[in-house]
Amino acid sequence: MILACLTILVVAGPVTASNLLGHRAGWDSTVKVNKVALSAQFNTQVNNVLSESVNPTDITLQIAIDQAAANWEVNIYDANYGDTGWAGHWNCQVWGSMTVCTQGRVRLNQVVSYTNQEAKSLACEEIGHSLGLAHSNEVNASCMSQQWNQTKLSTHDRNHLNSIY
């Protein structure tokens, strides 16, 4: 029995990989996304990211518009947050036990003007964070590399997401 448990643990191996942050959005493979008062530009680019990069994964999206944040696992906002030093940011209210984030917030800072490609790249990275991805070094393949000309999650990223959803 003990050896069997040990064998399972060893075979299972580490769950983390190079660009997983260590959490997931919600408890199951259905992720509830709430787009809150988004500008036309970010609304379009968020939709593009969800359809092109998240739909091809094992995640099932449930999308709402302008709902209160409490019941939604990924809440996406844009505003001119001013001179904060960042273009986009994700955080989760459940800092203490972060393996499941039940109310995360993506903020897209309109302190500067973005081209559509830049807006899509930014939305892609922050949505990636909200789902559980960290930055990556795939500079020619993934928006998680923070390159403004990268607008999609890579195959590597999507495989990571499939491993946790």
């Binding site: 983390t16 302008d66 209160a68 960042w86 940011h89 972060m98 964070h129 403004w148």
Partner: protein, 202 residues
């Protein structure tokens, strides 16, 4: 036979616990996940970070409280809430500061998940930027620009990337030497503020 079984059970338990801990997402005690933020600046050396900063100081935190909120969310509670931090400057390393007491406005991107640096009586080494939309108020230049000082020890306050880790390993005295060299290089025009990552991509 019995002692053997007890020893085997104990050994197995230790191995199993170790396997579980190492297989968990990297959120163990004392570990900070990387800052999940796309910042306008990312640095790999101290000199360009100093060049991009309005001031570099060693200071003591004197207070921290919720500040203004920004956003037009459905529920105002969902707006971005800043934290107002006050510091007393102990030493100016770079910049032309007129006053000893400074007010900082930081947001959630500058606050780590644990071991908060904005706690009264904490000594910090800060790379500061004067906010263009709030003159006279400062923020860390980016998430790499916060270090907690403990004796000669430096600990990254927010971001624990390769640069901040290696800079911290210098210790305070050598870090100050490095910053003095950097400030001279900036004054000589040998180091200039780098473009932000957005400017650099256009």
């Amino acid at each position: 036979m019995k002692p053997f079984i007890v020893a085997l059970t104990a050994f197995t338990a230790v191995v199993a616990v170790t396997a579980i801990v190492t297989s968990l997402p990297s959120l163990g005690a004392g570990h900070r996940a990387e800052s999940p933020t796309r910042e306008f600046y990312t640095f790999d050396a101290a000199a360009p970070m100093l060049a991009a900063s309005d001031a570099v100081v060693i200071a003591t935190v004197t207070g921290s409280e919720p500040g203004r909120s920004v956003g037009d969310e459905i529920d105002p509670a969902d707006n971005l809430v800043f934290t107002q931090v006050t510091i007393e400057v102990d030493q100016v390393i770079w910049g032309d500061l007129k006053q000893d007491a400074l007010a900082l406005e930081i947001d959630e991107s500058a606050i780590p998940r644990q071991d908060r640096w904005d706690v009264a009586d904490t000594t910090v080494l800060l790379f500061l930027h004067e906010k263009s939309d709030n003159p006279g108020i400062y923020r860390p230049t980016n998430s790499q620009g916060v270090f907690v000082v403990s004796g000669d020890r430096l600990v990254p306050g927010v971001s624990d990337d390769d640069f901040t880790e290696s800079f911290s390993r210098l210790g305070l005295d050598k870090a100050l030497d490095r910053l003095t060299e950097a400030s001279r290089a900036v004054e000589r025009g040998e180091v200039t503020p780098p473009p932000t990552i957005l400017e650099g991509s256009r």
